[in-house]
């Protein structure tokens, strides 16, 4: 099939006149071509659009902004950890002006530190990574990849984005109410979450309800779209792995989030209506018996929270694995090794992820039998994860590897996720977890999986699909700078934390361990040695370096929209999947005629073909197309 060599600006031909004028423009401003029909107003085109591509970009932009904000919170925290009690330079005055008493003198008070910690986690997970990985990439790419004109429920899609946005607003607003934002960690454990005498937790819970609603609506949309709107010939086993990953992720969100919504509702009742769902009888606050009915169970909150909390981490990683798979297949010019294993593994991971949650709760006084059960399921779930990683690694063998920026990030993902995953094994085993729980080892473990793990994959996705969205490439040189600096600094930030955790440094200590250090209590056993405390300074500088390393990316992203090198085809990477067989950027409705899929997703370097890739909708000439 011939590739359409398209010129800029977009829109090669006018859509049919009876089509309602809601155009799927991505967020750039070039839309001067009037095609003899009514141009939609700014609001209905960019704010209230029902086109999955616009919604995908909306999610992407807002999520990236939230991630930047969450990153800044982390920088403030790392300053406090490295320099407890010292005023933050420059920004301290701003903090005092904006937040008042908790930041008196530009010093981050313990309460403020706690709220930064809680909100950093919440924002990064629920407002940053999930919307970017699942909603943004999923919305933009999945309908294109399966040959659909849009999602099954476009208006529900729009509602989903607005619920997410509103939830984010509620979360941000909570910083400015008296008492500040939530302080009880992103896990919001009762009774702390209920006994803190401020409204931050209530705001957090309301924000979570909105975010959960957004995710549920999105999940329904994704599942229905993937089941119902696959183009003719797109059988289940011809789906690109990215679509499988999004499918399983959507199912996880659909079924795991509601118990947290239920729990959130119960905790909100505890906070606002003074019920005792999670407050035990005899609870004493500040030395006095609390005026509550009692009869509740703090453990109940933990069970309901982690019932989502664990599947949530698979929500964070699966879309990333999908993106890495696409980028690797494309840049090795050969099919992915073990497609079937990948599919069965991802389905198995999705299923198992629902029955491993209590490995977050080994320290709650669980009996040996139940601990053994959860330990067993946790160990078993590592198997399909390893299979997926192994398939991706083996796919490199014998490939004709192109080391462009997306591929660099995808390659970087592999060992980073490997480290994150392997360091999770002592945490899955109950005996070793008893020692490592709530230490910096845990922080290092999960950050390795999400930060140099998922986020690298997301960067790969941005660099990879940018030409399809805008018709221009991002600058390759600065992309490499971004990669190498990020890779280096990520490792300097998180690798020392393993050591700190093993030496006993606990999480969520606003003084960076000073109270338990050898310097503070000389002669006591097992204090934190100076070398460990010193690492806090190293980590701070590396974190600042990491932040600076994102500047080339941010500038590159926005600059390239208007000034990037133009691509000379609709399929600049020479990819087989359907999203690259559309005009650039794809118009509203995506495909003028419904694609007929005749091939698998990764037909690269097929012997006998004229090119080193065969798009999925290119008919197979020699034998009849396989239909399901």
């Amino acid at each position: 099939m011939e590739e359409n060599v398209q010129q800029f600006p977009p829109f090669r031909e006018p859509p049919a006149p009876e089509v309602h004028a809601e155009h799927g423009h991505p967020g750039h401003a070039e839309h001067e071509a009037h095609h003899g029909h009514h141009e939609p107003a700014f609001l209905s085109k960019y704010v209230f659009s029902t086109d999955h591509k616009v919604i995908g970009i909306q999610y992407g932009m807002v999520a990236l902004l939230f991630m930047l904000f969450g990153f800044s919170l982390m920088l403030l925290m790392r300053w406090q950890i490295a320099n407890p009690g010292k005023a933050v330079p420059f920004i301290g005055l701003l903090l005092e002006k904006v937040l008042g008493q908790p930041a008196a003198g530009g010093v981050i008070s313990p309460e403020l530190y706690n709220s930064f910690g809680a909100m950093h986690g919440t924002i990064m997970v629920f407002l940053g990574v999930v919307p970017l990985a699942f909603a943004a990439f999923g919305n933009y790419v999945v309908p294109l990849m399966i040959g659909a004109p849009d999602m099954t429920f476009p208006r529900v899609n729009m509602a989903s984005f607005h619920a997410f946005f509103l939830g984010g607003v509620v979360m941000l607003v909570s910083f400015f109410i008296p008492g500040g934002a939530a302080q009880a960690g992103w896990t919001s454990y009762s009774p702390l979450a209920t006994t803190i005498p401020t409204n931050g937790q209530a705001f957090w819970l309301v924000g979570m309800v909105l975010l959960i609603t957004s995710s549920l609506l999105g999940a329904v949309n994704f599942i229905a779209t993937i089941i119902q709107l696959r183009a003719p010939g797109m059988t289940w086993m011809r789906l690109p792995f990215f679509v499988w990953a999004q499918f399983v992720t959507a199912f996880i969100l659909l079924l795991a989030f509601p118990p947290l919504e239920a729990a959130g509702l119960l905790q909100l009742m505890d906070n606002v209506a003074h019920t005792s769902f999670f407050l035990p009888t005899g609870l004493a606050v500040g030395g006095r018996l609390a005026d509550i009915s009692g009869g509740g169970s703090p453990l109940l909150w933990q069970h309901l929270f982690w019932f989502l909390g664990h599947p949530e981490v698979y929500v964070l990683i699966l879309p990333a694995m999908g993106i890495v798979c696409e980028v690797i297949a494309n840049n090795t010019r050969k099919p992915i090794w073990g497609y079937k294993s990948l599919v069965y593994s991802v389905l198995f991971v999705g299923f198992l992820s629902f029955i491993v949650w209590a490995h977050h709760m080994y320290m709650t006084g669980m009996g040996q039998r139940i601990a053994t059960f959860f330990q067993a399921t946790t160990m078993i779930i590592s198997i399909p994860s390893v299979i997926i990683l192994t398939c991706l690694f083996i796919s490199l063998w014998g490939g004709s590897i192109r080391f462009n920026t997306p591929m660099l990030f995808a390659l970087g993902f592999l060992p980073m996720f490997g480290i994150g995953g392997l360091t999770g094994l002592p945490l899955g085993l109950a005996a070793s977890d008893l020692y490592l729980h709530d230490t910096y080892y845990i922080i290092a473990h999960f950050h390795y999986v999400v930060a140099p793990g998922t986020i690298f994959a997301l960067f790969a996705g941005i660099y990879f699909w940018f030409p399809k969205m805008t018709g221009r490439r991002m600058n390759e040189y600065w992309g490499r700078v971004h990669f190498w600096c990020s890779f280096t600094f990520m490792n300097i930030v998180f690798m020392p934390m393993f050591l700190q955790g093993i030496k006993g440094m606990l999480r969520r200590m606003s003084d960076g361990g000073a109270n338990y250090s050898a310097a503070r209590v000389p002669g006591a056993i097992d204090t934190l040695p100076d070398s460990i405390i010193q690492l806090n300074h190293t980590i701070l500088w590396a974190a600042i370096g990491l932040g600076l390393a994102q500047l080339p990316f941010i500038i590159n992203l926005f600059w390239s929209i208007k000034h990037g090198e133009k691509v000379n085809s609709d399929n600049p990477w020479g990819s087989t999947t359907l999203e690259w067989q559309t005009p650039t950027p794809p118009p509203h409705g995506n495909f003028k005629i419904e694609p007929q899929v005749a091939r698998g997703p990764y037909e690269y370097s097929v012997p006998g073909e004229s090119r080193d890739f065969s798009p999925q909708n290119e008919p197979v000439v020699k034998k009849a197309p396989v239909t399901h």
Binding site: I227, F251, L255, A256, P259, S297, L299, L300, H303, L304, F307, F351, F354, I355, A358, M361, G365, M366, G367, Q368, R369, I370, F373
Partner: protein
């Protein structure tokens, strides 16, 4: 067309009437079980819940047409039931299981 549609509607009304009657009966059964003195509490609760499941089956099966629904829907609901059972069962187990051999 209206002739057959009227009869369609009439037969639907008749079927629905039977389903309603069945629901009313099961409700009555639950209430009488609740006020009776059969066995201990656990037996009573199990009996009431069993009848409730039958009641739910009537509504889901006939009124929601679940009996004639497609495989895709069944698969989704099957997984839902499995995960709900996991949530309830494993949490109950976790709350009942305590470390043994810890007192001296």
């Amino acid at each position: 067309m209206s002739e057959s549609s009227a009869t369609d509607l009439k037969s639907s009304v008749r079927r629905c009437g039977l389903v309603f009657l069945a629901v009313a009966c099961t409700t009555a059964m639950m209430i009488s079980a609740s006020f009776s003195h059969i066995g201990g509490w656990p037996v009573k609760v199990a009996a009431i819940l069993a009848v409730a499941v039958v009641n739910a089956f009537l509504v889901a099966g006939f009124l929601m047409h679940l009996l004639t629904e497609k495989k895709m829907i069944f698969t989704v609901l099957l997984f839902t039931v499995i995960f709900f059972a996991g949530l309830l069962g494993l949490t109950l187990w976790a709350m009942q299981d305590f470390p043994v051999g810890t007192t001296h």
